[in-house]
């Protein structure tokens, strides 16, 4: 797919001492089901984390806690110095710092591409339409899809829709981007355009947490790979180390399956 040599641009340096996200002893229950078991994780500014593991292991749940799409039972979540409380004000202020891209794109079908991107700028940041559209166009251009600005989502291919979804999140100028299997719903020929967009973001220094099984992407972009199973992080390693010599039995089995399918 893409070449797998790690990126080594100077701009990709990680500030070791600037913590952007801190999860401390997170526990999440769905009724009687313990979905996240005492997870702690620190992400520094500029870091790119890849989260992988079998289906149902809690990857989506974990990243969805970061912007409070899921509420946690106990533990603390701090994003850009703000600790999450259970009130709308605190949740809103954290959501301003966090962009999210979903597996199923979730573009708004009744809005043109440009309006998909400018809606939140107008509603959340209170911008005028023309001011918002300037920003929307800037990010649509950045994901190389500006020429589709006046179309509706259904008129775009899956890969194009996902790039619009990335632009829509970037418009809010978040400090961190969360990706939940952004290429899993795509036809194979469209995976590359989305991964290339994400690689571009990484090169520009964006802090990212990506749930993905794209190992080429992980090798090229990630600082750390986290392997999850049964609501726990079982292994955490640099990508080369993780892919060539996984330590945990579950990780070995998982990688075996992924390789068998590629």
């Amino acid at each position: 797919m893409q070449n797998t040599s790690p990126l080594n641009t100077a701009s990709m340096s990680v500030s070791e001492n600037e913590t952007l996200i801190e999860l401390k002893n997170i526990n999440k229950w769905f009724g009687g089901f313990h979905a996240l078991k005492d997870i702690s994780l620190t992400v520094n500014k500029g870091e790119r984390i890849v989260l992988c593991g079998p289906s149902g292991s809690g990857k989506s749940t974990l990243i969805r806690c970061i912007n409070h799409l899921e509420a946690i039972k106990d533990g603390t979540i701090t994003v850009a110095g703000k600790e999450m409380a259970n009130d709308a004000k605190s949740i809103d202020s954290i959501r301003r710092e966090v962009g999210m891209v979903f597996q199923s794109f979730n573009l708004f079908p009744h809005l043109k591409i440009i309006d998909n991107c400018s809606l939140a700028l107008r509603r959340v940041k209170g911008m005028q339409r023309d001011e918002a559209e300037v920003i929307a166009r800037k990010y649509l251009d950045r994901v190389h899809i500006l020429e589709q600005a006046d179309k509706y989502p259904a008129q775009l291919s899956g890969g194009q829709q996902q790039r619009v979804a990335i632009a829509r999140a970037l418009c809010m100028e978040p400090k961190v981007m969360l990706f939940d299997e952004p290429t899993s719903a795509l036809d194979p020929e469209m995976v590359k355009e989305v991964l290339d967009t994400m690689i571009g973001l990484a090169q520009d220094g964006m802090t990212m947490i990506c749930v993905t099984h794209e190992m080429g992407f992980a090798r090229k972009v990630a600082n750390r790979v986290l392997f999850m199973a049964d609501g726990q992080v079982l292994e955490e390693a640099a990508p080369d180390e993780f892919f060539s010599a996984p330590k945990h039995e579950r990780a070995k089995a998982f990688l075996g399956e992924i390789l068998a399918h590629n």
Partner: protein
């Protein structure tokens, strides 16, 4: 009375056309108000706040399980007891709005429930409030999903407006009854207004589909 005589209908054609215009106005007012009630009702129901939800549920149950004629009489005879005096036509609009509103709540709620959760989550992740999510993200696709059902409901409302003749609201059936009682030409009069109601339905249907094409026809 054995001979058909449509002369009387032609003689009072002005009056009948005036009736058509009034029924169109009454129905349009009823439709607009019931749409507003429907959207506000669904927005209240969606909050999951029992203080806002319970009145909506009670309202829908009450209206959908009682006859329209009784609702109309209730408003017409009960409101004056409360010191509110309204002319029959205004009372008719309120009754149509309330009745149509209750059915609209049920229909629109179905549309809202058909919106994928991911759409709402995408809005939330962008920082939109739940009111903004409802208004800017959910409402249009929800109305689109149930637009045919809502349109049928609005045609039904239009036809139901003839019941408002029983409180002497100014509309087509009331005018027809007056002409009939003055001329005794029952068949000719009701034959004619049957045709006029067909025309009214067709006009409302045409207006609804042109609104549909304009506002709910994005590619899917």
């Amino acid at each position: 009375m054995n001979q058909l005589d449509f002369g009387i209908v032609i003689e009072r054609w002005d009056e009948l056309l005036h009736g058509v215009a009034l029924t169109l106005a009454l129905s349009t007012a009823g439709i607009v108000c019931s749409l507003i009630i429907g959207v506000i009702g669904v927005a209240m129901h969606r909050t999951k706040n029992p203080l806002l939800q319970a009145p909506v549920i009670a309202f829908v149950e009450l209206i959908r399980n009682t006859p329209f004629l009784i609702q109309l009489f209730f408003l017409f005879f009960a409101l004056p007891l409360l010191g509110v005096r309204l002319n029959p036509t205004i009372t008719a609009i309120i009754a149509l709005a309330i009745n149509g509103g209750a059915y609209s709540i049920e229909i629109i709620r179905g549309g809202v429930e058909s919106i994928p959760r991911g759409q709402i989550e995408a809005g939330a992740a962008l920082g939109l409030s739940s009111t903004q999510i409802f208004r800017d993200i959910v409402l249009i696709p929800a109305l689109r999903a149930i637009y045919p059902a809502l349109s049928s409901q609005f045609i039904l409302l239009t036809l139901t407006s003839s019941v408002c003749s029983s409180i002497s609201a100014s509309e087509l059936t009331h005018f027809a009854q007056r002409i009939e009682s003055e001329t005794f030409r029952s068949f000719e009069v009701y034959f004619t207004i049957t045709g006029l109601y067909l025309l009214i339905s067709w006009l409302i249907m045409t207006a609804l589909s042109s609104i549909g094409r304009r506002h709910f026809s994005y590619p899917n």
